[in-house]
């Protein structure tokens, strides 16, 4: 009886080990193939805007790849995921950080590079829903794009994003990260910043963090 119990325990242990190994391997392989690695904050799921000052202080090594830092809304709709995003990006071969506005709406994808974002400048980026029924993207206080979506509130994010695990990320300094409630009031971000492995986040508070 005891022998049988031992066999069962061993079998159970083996099965558990196997399951854990498969889970770890799957996670590893997913990460290895993942297109992006994120560092920053997410506020789910019914908010009317996000804004943050984002500052780069050096040009990282991004050989064969690229990265970005941005604020965005994001919402699931029947056709997939839609968003309006503004920030800056840096790719292999670029002569500096380039600010951009990107959107996905009704199956059309759009990305426009607008200008340079210079080092040591904490430029304000903002995406918000306004009374005209459109979501608006602002870059350093200038209006850059407005778009109608089927939703007036969404998940909002302020993120740094690396497109490969083997590149340097930033560092990017996020300050004054705020989200906007559906009643129109801006609040300091209260979600805890996180970092996908192998990148890091140094948190001063939930609305002030360094992504690297």
């Amino acid at each position: 009886m005891a022998k049988r119990k031992n066999v069962l325990i061993r079998l159970f242990t083996c099965l558990m080990s196997l399951t854990i190994s498969i889970c770890l391997l799957t996670r590893f392989s997913l990460n290895a193939n993942a297109e992006s690695y994120y560092v920053g904050t997410i506020k789910s799921s019914s908010y009317a805007g996000i804004r943050a000052n984002i500052e780069p202080r050096s040009y990282p090594n991004v050989t064969g790849s690229g990265e970005s830092a941005w604020v965005s809304n994001v919402h699931s709709v029947s056709g997939g995921i839609e968003w309006l995003q503004t920030g800056f990006r840096y790719r292999d071969g670029y002569d500096g950080y380039r600010s951009y506005v990107e959107s996905t709406n009704a199956g059309a994808y759009s990305m426009q590079e607008i200008g340079y974002h210079v080092l040591y400048y904490a430029a304000p980026y903002k995406v918000e829903y306004e009374s005209d029924g459109k979501w608006h993207a602002y870059l350093s206080g200038y209006h850059k794009k407005a778009m109608t979506f089927s939703f007036s509130s969404a998940t909002v994010e302020a993120m740094a994003e690396a497109h490969s695990p083997s590149i340097e990320l930033g560092p990017f300094y996020f300050t004054n990260v705020n989200y906007k409630s559906t009643s129109g009031t801006w609040y300091y971000m209260n979600s805890t910043p996180y970092a996908d492995y192998p990148f890091h986040v140094d948190i001063t508070n939930n609305y002030t963090y360094k992504a690297y």
Binding site: E35, G79, G107, Q112
Partner: protein
């Protein structure tokens, strides 16, 4: 007495004449501006129609500094299709490169692009300043090179040196919008990572060719997977304005900008 009366009449006549001249000038100004804006809206509409674009309306608002162009797509779906992406690019090119001298275009800070499906349901309603020119050095030299004679064979040979046999190229040239490189890419299977990675690499390589003065102003990419008729991604980008616009099948869960 008679002399005094004549003097008064003369003064009344002078005042009346001044008022009449001022009225004529004001009315002339109003009528001069109104027909110009209307005429330019009509002209713009006709130019779009000439390029095969189905225009619902084309309206300039001086108060909003805005040009609203409503385009009807052939699709009856609630989602944009590849052909609509092509039409959106043709319309933007028209405004940026052919009609930028029209008063209603160059005074507009806002291009309101409205895309409707064939049932007149609005799919996209977007505002942006499409005439804002980016400050990147390659954009300025690209803009200056539009209209220059292009050695198509040399460009094709450069492209062949850069890319493998998975790609097919076509190079065309327009006096107004410059050189378009159309690339067809064939993938044996529909693999998100493979497709997005290839497009990101392709854009990087075209950018690097442009830094060496290749002079590619427009980039059109069609990606086929599993069979040569199965279009899974269509992109039509303006490299002068760094304006990337594309459609991809919903089966592709990520996008090339993340690679």
């Amino acid at each position: 007495m008679e002399k005094k009366k004549t003097g008064l009449r003369f003064r009344v006549l002078v005042v009346f004449s001044i008022i009449a001249i001022l009225c004529a000038i004001s009315l002339g100004y109003v009528f001069k501006n109104l027909p110009t804006a209307f005429a330019e809206e009509d002209y713009l509409t006709n130019q779009f129609v000439k390029d095969g674009i189905n225009i619902e309306s084309c309206v300039y608002s001086k108060a909003d500094n805005s040009l609203k162009v409503s385009i009807v797509s052939d699709t009856d779906s609630d989602q944009i299709d590849p052909e609509t992406i092509r039409v959106m690019r043709v319309a933007r090119n028209k405004i940026r490169y052919e009609l930028e001298d029209l008063a209603i275009v160059n005074s507009s800070k806002n291009y309101n692009e409205v895309i409707m499906n064939s049932n007149r349901k609005v799919l996209i309603d977007s505002d942006t300043d499409i005439l804002e020119f980016p400050p990147f050095p390659e954009c300025k030299s690209l803009r200056n090179s539009i209209g220059e004679k292009v050695d198509v064979e040399k460009l094709k040979s450069q492209l062949n040196d850069y890319f493998s046999s998975d790609y097919r190229f076509d190079v065309s040239n327009s006096d107004s919008s410059g050189t378009t490189v159309s690339i067809s890419l064939f993938c044996s299977e529909k693999n998100d990572d493979e497709i997005n990675e290839k497009i990101a690499q392709l854009v990087m390589k075209i950018d690097s060719m442009n830094r060496e003065s290749a002079g590619i102003h427009q980039l059109e990419i069609s990606v086929y997977a599993e069979s040569e008729s199965n279009l899974v991604l269509y992109m039509y980008s303006d490299l002068v304005y760094r304006d990337f616009l594309w459609w991809q099948t919903p089966d592709i869960k990520t996008q090339w900008t993340k690679y």
